[in-house]
Each structure stands twice: as structure tokens, then as C-alpha cells.
């Protein structure tokens, strides 16, 4: 990349800037135009008409975290696979297809191992772990 070629990154910044401007602009317009008549009832979180009890910011089920955990591992693995996948064809044309395939498959096999483990241990079953944790909470 020559410095001029960095200009290709310009649209990203411009679009992000447009997004921010649009948001603040729209917000500004709405402040100008919209009525402002606050009342306690309006400012209460909607809970189907009931008075909210306590804050919503309380400890959640660990289930969500386990999903996030599996996700991040797979995410990182796919990130590492991207450059290899990009040159896979090139390697194949250079006659190193078998080597690349072995590298690639051995990497994927570990990925499969991870999903197999989580599957076997029930981390992928939403309901089961809810039941387990419900027991846990008692």
C-alpha cells in the first residue's frame, strides 16, 4: 500500500462518520420537534403494567456465558483459518495441495473435537442445563 492507497480506507471512516452524524442529527431534530412531557409512569420501565421490583441488573444464568465461550473459541479458530483458506487454492496450484489439506484438516479436526466435547458434555443443550441450574439454585 502506498500512502495514497490508504485512501481506500476512507469510505469506512466516512460511513462511520455519517452514522454518527445521522444519529446525533436525528436525535437533535427529535429534541426540537418532539414534545417533552415527562411523567413518572412514562419513566418507569414497562413491565406489563406492574410496578417493577428491583433492578434488572442482577446475576444471569451461566448458560449465556458458556455459549459465549464456545463462540469465542470458534471465532478465533475461524479467524486463523481465513488466511490459510485464502491461499489454499494458490498452494494447490503450486502443487502443495496435499500438504495444505493436511494442515487445514488437522486444524479443523481440533475444532471438531471441541464441538464434540461440548456436545457430549451437554453444553449445547439449552434446556438440559437450565434444568440442571434450576436444581442448582434450589
Amino acid at each position: 500500500m502506498t500512502p495514497a492507497q490508504f485512501d481506500g480506507l476512507m469510505p469506512i471512516v466516512i460511513l462511520m462518520g455519517i452514522a454518527v452524524l445521522l444519529f446525533t442529527g436525528g436525535h437533535f431534530v427529535s429534541v426540537l420537534l418532539a414534545p417533552k412531557k415527562p411523567s413518572l409512569l412514562k419513566e418507569t420501565p414497562y413491565e406489563c403494567g406492574e410496578q417493577p421490583v428491583g433492578s434488572a441488573w442482577s446475576a444471569f444464568n451461566v448458560r449465556f456465558y458458556v455459549v459465549g465461550l464456545i463462540f469465542i473459541i470458534f471465532d478465533v479458530e475461524s479467524v486463523l483459518m481465513f488466511p490459510v483458506a485464502s491461499i489454499f487454492k494458490e498452494l494447490n496450484e503450486a502443487g502443495e495441495g496435499a500438504y495444505a489439506l493436511i494442515i487445514f484438516l488437522s486444524f479443523i479436526s481440533v475444532l471438531i473435537e471441541g464441538i464434540a466435547y461440548c456436545w457430549k458434555k451437554g453444553d449445547l443443550d439449552w434446556v438440559k442445563s437450565f434444568q440442571v441450574s434450576a436444581k442448582n439454585n434450589k
Binding site: M1, A4, Q5, D7, G8, M10, P11, I12, I14, L15, I18, A19, V20, L22, F23, G26, H27, S30, V31, L33, A34, P35, K36, K37, P38, L40, K42, E43, T44, P45, Y46, E47, C48, P52, A56, W57, F64, V67, G68, I70, F71, F74, D75, S78, F82, A85, S86, F88, K89, E90, N92, G97, A98, L101, I112, I115, L124, D125, W126, V127
Partner: protein
């Protein structure tokens, strides 16, 4: 970086004229060109997003044998403008227990994440703002901002419904990112690059050269991608984060007025973007169905039309699915992602890799008709 909008335009004479007007300041001209084009794209997308709401109502009405919006403008087509005006003039209510900072920030993050993806969307072979080397990868990455914004929207409201919706939404979005990413990985592998230019360059010509018909695995990969994309954009039947019957309205229960509008806008644009990406990756994007030796601006516009047609067809399918299929349960949602889509996607990836090595990168069409 293979090509940018500016580098594409600079092969025409009128660009030099423009350069003269701007006093040979290439950077400034590039900025102006990008700004204009980005404005146009954003306007187009906002219109598409607005029309999306209209189309959604109209199509749902069709499916349910109703009439749908028909008061504002011919066939009610200006309904979205009326909705927009309503949103701007609506009172902006924020719960008093909310986290104000994050409450403001969440829709903005969604908007930023979605708008930033537009930078690499291939409208045509020339009209892409930036054909980054990491194009599709960049698109996946930056759109994950939406997941954060969904979570934050739910969190900042400090309402139980919102919170549940936000947690569900975030975990759904990140979960379905995996099969989508791995399907895209398959295409990267077939195309030998991540840039949209590279990917589209492999699918020139007749539909038989599209990647969806490249090999059986790619064919499956398209459906994995499409289902995953539905879930990633919180579309039905994966719209659990905003399931009305369970969670009132999910993570944007407490959002009103303009901020709700931005959430909705971001969502509709994102649906269009994933449809466009699906069209570009699997369905040949804006490629002309015939070979032409010359390149003129009208031809590019024709490509844009082709691209839009494909993307909007997919968009139609998305809406169609919404009004056809019932919503999933949370456990079904997770098991579809992790027990069906992800293994299938990995299987596709392995299959594609083996295919590339065994058949030396040739597609079925090449094998049958002896191309390349």
C-alpha cells in the same frame, strides 16, 4: 487493496477534469467522491430499509390475504415516510433507572456497525467503495458491533424484558455467527481470496459459474449461510430477542421515537446487507450474464440493477419466511445452531477443501463442460 471507487473512476477522462477543478488535490477529491457516493449509498439503503418496512407489511398482508397499508401515497408506498415523521416527532421517553450513556450509545453502535459494512458492499464490479483484501472478513467483523448494541440496548433499559431480550439477542447473534463465518470460509477457500473483487471475478458469466453451483458442498453452504444470516439479523423465525408474545418487544422495549427508529433502520439495512452479501458470494453478485469486452458507466449501472435484483429477491424470501414459519423455542434455536448448522458448515468446509485438492479447484461446470 485491489481497487477502490476512486481508482476505478480515475480511468475515465472526466475524473481528470474533476481533478483539475480540485486543484490536483487527489486526497480532497477522493474524499468528496467517497462522501458523495457514501451519501448516495446511505440514502439508497435508508430508502430500501424504509421500503422494507412497507414491503414487509404489504407482503404479510398478501400472505394473510389482507390489504395492508394503502392510505399514504399510491398503494400506501409512502407509509415509511409517515412512519419516519411519526418517529421524529414522538416524545423521547427514557426509563429513569436506565443507564443513560449506554441508552444513547446502543442505537448508535448498531448504526455504525451496519453503515460500516456498506463500505465493501459490491454494487457492481466498479462501484464498490473499497475492494479490501479482507473484504468479506471485514464485513463479518464490523457487523458484530450489532451484537454489542443489542446487548447494550437491553442492558441500558434496565427493564427485565429488555434485559432478557438483550441477552438472548446477543447470544443468538454470536452463536449464528459461527456457521455463517464457516460458510463464508468455504467460499474464501473456493475463490482464493477474501476480497469481493476476487470472489466476484471467479463467478463471471453464466449462472453455472456461480459459487452456489460450484460443487455440492457450496450448494449446502449457501443454505447454511442464509439460515445463519436470518438468525444473525434477528429475523423470523429466529426473532426470539424481540418475541412479542414472550418479551413484549425484546431489547428495544423501552426505546421510543428516533432511537427506536434507528434500531429499526439498522436492522432493515442489515437484512439488505446480508442478502446482498449472499447474492455476491453465492449468486454471482452484479456480474453480467454475458461477456463484454468494454466497460462503460451504464453497464456498471446495469450491474447494480442485477445486484439489487438478486439481493431484493433474497430480501423477499426473508420476508416470506417471516410470515410463513412459526418462531422457534430457545432450545431449538441453540440446537439448530450448534448441532445442525455448525457441524454441517464444518462438513462443507472440509468437503470444499477436499474438492479443491481432488478436482484441482474446478467447479462441476468446468468438469462437465471442460472449462478453464
Amino acid at each position: 487493496m485491489n481497487q477502490t471507487l476512486v481508482s476505478y473512476l480515475s480511468q475515465y477522462e472526466f475524473y481528470d477534469v474533476l481533478l483539475g477543478i480540485f486543484g490536483k488535490n487527489e486526497g480532497l477529491l477522493a474524499f468528496v467522491v467517497y462522501l458523495l457516493f457514501a451519501g448516495a449509498v446511505v440514502g439508497l439503503c435508508a430508502t430500501i430499509g424504509g421500503l422494507g418496512t412497507y414491503a414487509e407489511r404489504k407482503i404479510s398482508a398478501d400472505i394473510q390475504q389482507r390489504i395492508g397499508p394503502n392510505r399514504v401515497g399510491p398503494y400506501g408506498i409512502l407509509q415509511f415516510l409517515a412512519d419516519g415523521v411519526k418517529m421524529i416527532t414522538k416524545e423521547d421517553v427514557m426509563p429513569n433507572t436506565a443507564d443513560k450513556f449506554l441508552f444513547y450509545l446502543a442505537p448508535m453502535l448498531a448504526l455504525v456497525g451496519v453503515f460500516a459494512t456498506l463500505a465493501v458492499l459490491p454494487w457492481s464490479s466498479g462501484f464498490m467503495m473499497a475492494d479490501l483484501n479482507v473484504g468479506i472478513f471485514y464485513l463479518i467483523a464490523i457487523s458484530s458491533l450489532v451484537g454489542v448494541s443489542v446487548f447494550l440496548g437491553g442492558y441500558a433499559s434496565n427493564s427485565k424484558w429488555s434485559m432478557l431480550g438483550g441477552m438472548r439477542g446477543a447470544s443468538q447473534i454470536i452463536s449464528y455467527e459461527i456457521p455463517v463465518t464457516i460458510s463464508i470460509l468455504s467460499i474464501t477457500l473456493l475463490a482464493g481470496g477474501m476480497g469481493f473483487g476476487t470472489i466476484l471475478g471467479q463467478q463471471l458469466g453464466t449462472p453455472i459459474n456461480w459459487f452456489i453451483f460450484h460443487n455440492p458442498f457450496a450448494f449446502i453452504a449457501f443454505f447454511v449461510y442464509f439460515i445463519g444470516a436470518l438468525a444473525e439479523t434477528n429475523r423470523a423465525p429466529f426473532d426470539l430477542p424481540e418475541a412479542e408474545s414472550e418479551l413484549v418487544s425484546g431489547y428495544h422495549t423501552e426505546y421510543t421515537g428516533m432511537r427506536f427508529g434507528f434500531f429499526a433502520l439498522a436492522e432493515y439495512i442489515e437484512v439488505f446487507v446480508v442478502c446482498g452479501v449472499g447474492a455476491a458470494l453465492f449468486l454471482g453478485g452484479g456480474n453480467l450474464p454475458f461477456n463484454v469486452q468494454f466497460d462503460i458507466i451504464p453497464l456498471q449501472l446495469f450491474q447494480v440493477v442485477i445486484f439489487m435484483t438478486k439481493a431484493l429477491l433474497l430480501y423477499y424470501v426473508v420476508i416470506w419466511i417471516r410470515w410463513t414459519f412459526p418462531r422457534l423455542r430457545v432450545d431449538q434455536l441453540m440446537s439448530i445452531c450448534w448441532k445442525y448448522l455448525t457441524p454441517i458448515a464444518i462438513f462443507n468446509l472440509v468437503g470444499n477443501a477436499v474438492w479443491v485438492v481432488v478436482f484441482n479447484g474446478k467447479s462441476i461446470a468446468d468438469l462437465v463442460f471442460g472449462g478453464h
